[in-house]
C-alpha cells in the first residue's frame, strides 16, 4: 500500500473580509458633500439663467440627496462584489462587458429607486401621484440612466482605487515578511550544508585516500572546493540554473560516494531541455541530504539515490528518490517537517505561491520519493 501525500502550497491570505474600505460614516459624509456641491451648482445655474420660477430648494435638495445617499448605500455591496470576485477587478474585455451590463442594470435600478422617492415627495407635497411604471416614469428613467451609469463607473473607479491601494500595501507588508522567511529558510539550507559532521568526515576521507592515490585525493579536494564555492556564492544569487544546481548536487554526492565507497549508488537523469530552467539555489540540497541521511546512514544495506528532472507540460518536475526505509505515513512528514523539508516548503511557498506543488510518495520499508513541480522559466545568463 503506497501513501501519496500532497502538500498544498496555499496562496497567502491577502483578502480580508471587510465590507468597506473606509468607515461608513465617511461614505455618508461624502454623499452629503457631493450633494452640497451639486445643489450649489444647480442653484448657480438657476440663478444665472433668465428664469421664470423661483428655485425650489426643497425639491432640489431632496432630489440630489436621494441620488447620492442611494449610491452611498449601494457602495458596500459594490465593494464587496469587487473584493470577492477576482474577475470583477481584472482588466479584461469580459470584465468591461460585465461592468457595462451590471452598470446598466444598477443605473436603471438606481433611477427607479430615486424616482420612487421623487414620486413619494410630489405626492406628499403637491398631492398628485405619478405612476411609477407608467410611460412618463420610463421617460424620466431613460433620461437619467446615462448619468447614473456614469456615476456607477466613477464609483467602480474609486473602489478599484481603494482595492488597488489596499492590495499594494498588503503586498508590501507581505514582501517584508516573505523576505524574512526566505532568508531564514536559506540560512537553514546553508546550515545543513555546512554540517560539521559531513565536513570533517570528508576531510578524513581525503586524508585516508592520500595513502592510496594522491590524484584521487586531489579530485576530492577539488570537489569540496566546488561545494564551498557554490555555498559562498549562494548569497549572491537567489535563482540559478538547474544545470548549476545539479552540478552542485553531483559534487556533493561524489563526496558522499567517496566516503561510503561501494555503499552508495547514484543515478541522475536530467532532460537537456530543462538544464537552463531557473531554480532557487540549493533548493534540492536538503532533500538530497535527507535521502542520504535516512536512506543510507541509518541502515546497513546498499543505498541508492535517484534524481530525475524533466518538463511536463509547462512545469519543471524534479524527483528525488531513495531506497531507504521510507515512512509509513507520508502526511506525517508535512505535519512534522524536519529542518530540511521545512526550508524547502517555505521557499516554494514564498517564491511560487500556489504555482508550485510538492508531494511525497512513500510507504513503509519501500523507499522515499519526493516530487517537486515548479513553473518552467528559462534563466538566461
Amino acid at each position: 500500500m503506497s501513501h501519496l501525500s500532497y502538500y498544498k502550497i496555499r496562496r497567502m491570505n491577502t483578502m480580508n473580509n471587510r465590507w468597506l474600505p473606509i468607515r461608513f460614516i465617511w461614505i455618508i459624509a461624502s454623499a452629503f458633500l457631493l450633494s452640497f456641491i451639486f445643489i450649489l451648482n444647480a442653484y448657480i445655474n438657476h440663478s444665472y439663467t433668465p428664469n421664470q420660477e423661483a428655485f425650489d430648494w426643497y425639491f432640489e435638495i431632496m432630489l440630489v440627496v436621494t441620488n447620492y445617499l442611494l449610491w452611498a448605500f449601494l457602495f458596500p455591496l459594490l465593494y464587496r462584489f469587487i473584493v470577492t470576485n477576482k474577475f470583477a477587478w481584472q482588466l479584461s474585455f469580459r470584465t468591461i462587458l460585465m461592468h457595462i451590463l451590471l452598470g446598466l442594470l444598477i443605473a436603471v435600478f438606481h433611477r427607479y429607486a430615486s424616482l420612487a422617492f421623487y414620486i413619494g415627495m410630489t405626492w406628499s407635497l403637491k398631492g398628485y401621484l405619478l405612476d411609477l411604471f407608467g410611460i412618463h416614469s420610463a421617460n424620466m428613467v431613460i433620461r437619467g440612466v446615462i448619468s447614473s451609469m456614469l456615476q456607477y463607473w466613477i464609483i467602480i473607479g474609486v473602489l478599484w482605487g481603494f482595492e488597488y491601494y489596499r492590495q499594494k500595501r498588503q503586498q508590501e507588508l507581505l514582501l517584508i515578511k516573505t523576505n524574512q522567511e526566505l532568508a531564514d529558510a536559506q540560512l537553514n539550507a546553508l546550515k545543513m550544508q555546512l554540517h560539521p559532521h559531513f565536513f570533517f568526515n570528508t576531510l578524513n576521507t581525503i586524508s585516508s585516500v592520500m595513502d592510496r592515490s594522491v590524484e584521487e585525493a586531489q579530485d576530492i579536494v577539488a570537489k569540496l572546493a566546488r561545494l564551498m564555492r557554490a555555498l559562498l556564492d549562494s548569497e549572491k544569487q537567489q535563482v540559478i540554473t538547474l544545470r548549476q544546481e545539479i552540478d552542485y548536487i553531483r559534487a556533493y554526492l561524489d563526496l558522499e560516494q567517496a566516503r561510503f565507497s561501494d555503499r552508495l549508488l547514484v543515478k541522475i537523469e536530467v532532460d537537456d531541455a530543462v538544464l537552463n530552467a531557473g531554480i532557487p539555489n540549493l533548493l534540492l540540497q536538503p532533500l538530497v541530504e535527507n535521502s542520504i541521511k535516512h536512506g543510507l546512514s541509518s541502515q546497513a544495506k546498499q543505498g541508492a539515490i535517484e534524481i530525475y528532472a524533466e518538463m511536463i507540460q509547462k512545469d519543471l518536475v524534479i524527483k528525488i528518490k531513495d531506497n531507504g526505509k521510507g515512512v509509513a505515513n507520508a502526511d506525517y512528514v508535512f505535519q512534522n517537517p524536519g529542518i530540511g523539508i521545512k526550508s524547502v516548503l517555505t521557499r516554494l511557498k514564498v517564491i511560487y505561491q500556489s504555482t508550485a506543488t510538492i508531494h511525497i510518495e512513500s510507504s513503509y520499508q519501500a523507499g522515499f520519493c519526493v516530487i517537486i513541480k515548479i513553473p518552467y522559466k528559462p534563466l538566461s545568463l
Binding site: M1, P196, H197, F199, F200, N201, L203, N204, T205, I206, S207, S208, V209, D211, R212, A258, R259, F260, S261, D262, R263, L296, S297, S298, Q299, A300, K325, V327, A328, N329, D331, Y332, Q335, S363, Y364, Q365
Partner: protein, 261 residues
C-alpha cells in the same frame, strides 16, 4: 605480545586510515573491520579483541549502543573515533575516555595508543571498565529522543528494532511482544516502562496491554460501547479498551492526519 584490534566504522576510507596508522605497530594485529554497529557487536562477542576503534555515528546501532549490549568479559579497551559529535565529546572529556577526532592527527594517535598499550600490558581493565560504565550511564540518561533502538538477542542472533519499526506491542507478563515487519520479538520489560521509553515517539496506549505506533495506523473507527477499532497498515485489527477512550480521543484530535475517523 600480540594485541588483537578491531576497527569499526561505516566509512571504508576511515577504516583504511586507522589500519594504515596501526601498521607501524608490529605488536598490534588488525583481526577485522566492521561496517556497522551490528557487525561490531557480533565480531566483538565472537572474536573477543583486546582493542576496538569505535566510530559513534553508524547505521543500525551507534557506538554507545554497541557497548551497552556487550556481554563479554573482560571488555575490550575502546578508543572512540568521531568526526563531530558535541555531545559525545563532552561525555568523553567528562569521563577521561580516550577518543580520536577525524581526520586523525598522527601525534594524537600515538599518544592515545601508547596510553592504551600501557593499560593493556598492565591489565588495568577494571579501571577502564569503570570509566566506560560511567560514560554509558550518562549516555543512557540522555539518549537522543529521535533514536530509540531495542536490541534483542535470540539464540545467537542479534536483532535491532528501531522504535519506528514497531507496529504495535503487547504485554505478556514480564515481557512485551514487539510486532514488526521482521516478525514478533519478546523483550523483557513492563508495559508502563515501555510507554515511558516511547514517550517521544508516536505511540498511543489503547488497551491495558496494547501500545500502538500511530505511524502504522491505517484507519480507525469508533465501534460502540466506548471502544475503537484500529486497522494497521499491515491489516492487523486491534480493539481498544473501554477505559482508554479519553486517551484515544486525545490522540485522534491531535493527529488530524488520520482522516478516516
Amino acid at each position: 605480545m600480540n594485541i588483537r584490534a578491531l576497527i569499526v566504522d561505516d566509512e571504508p576510507p576511515a577504516r583504511a586510515r586507522v589500519a594504515k596508522l596501526l601498521s607501524t605497530y608490529p605488536e598490534i594485529r588488525v583481526i577485522g573491520e566492521c561496517r556497522n554497529g551490528l557487525e561490531a557487536l557480533e565480531a566483538i562477542e565472537s572474536q573477543v579483541p583486546d582493542l576496538v576503534f569505535l566510530d559513534i555515528q553508524m547505521p543500525e546501532l551507534n557506538g554507545f549502543e554497541v557497548l551497552q549490549q556487550l556481554s563479554v568479559n573482560p571488555r575490550p579497551f575502546i578508543i572512540f573515533t568521531t568526526a563531530f559529535d558535541q555531545y559525545a565529546l563532552k561525555a568523553f572529556e567528562h569521563h577521561a575516555v580516550d577518543y580520536l577526532l577525524k581526520p586523525i592527527e598522527r601525534e594524537r594517535f600515538t599518544t592515545a595508543l601508547e596510553k592504551v598499550l600501557l593499560q593493556i600490558k598492565g591489565r588495568h581493565a577494571d579501571k577502564f571498565n569503570d570509566k566506560l560504565k560511567d560514560l554509558l550511564g550518562e549516555y543512557e540518561s540522555s539518549v537522543s529522543p529521535d533514536r530509540k533502538n531495542f536490541v534483542i538477542k535470540d539464540r545467537g542472533t542479534v536483532n535491532v528494532i528501531h522504535a519506528d519499526d514497531i507496529f504495535w506491542l503487547a504485554s505478556e507478563g514480564n515481557y512485551v511482544t514487539l510486532h514488526t515487519a521482521k516478525g514478533d520479538f519478546l523483550y523483557r520489560s513492563a508495559m508502563t516502562a515501555m510507554e515511558n521509553e516511547l514517550q517521544t515517539h508516536q505511540f498511543v496506549r489503547i488497551h491495558r496491554s496494547i501500545l500502538v505506533n500511530t505511524l502504522h495506523i491505517g484507519r480507525s473507527q469508533y465501534l460502540h460501547n466506548e471502544t475503537f477499532k484500529f486497522v494497521l497498515n499491515n491489516q492487523t485489527s486491534l480493539i481498544s479498551g473501554r477505559s482508554y477512550k479519553e486517551n484515544i480521543q486525545g490522540f485522534l484530535q491531535s493527529a488530524n492526519y488520520i482522516k478516516q475517523f
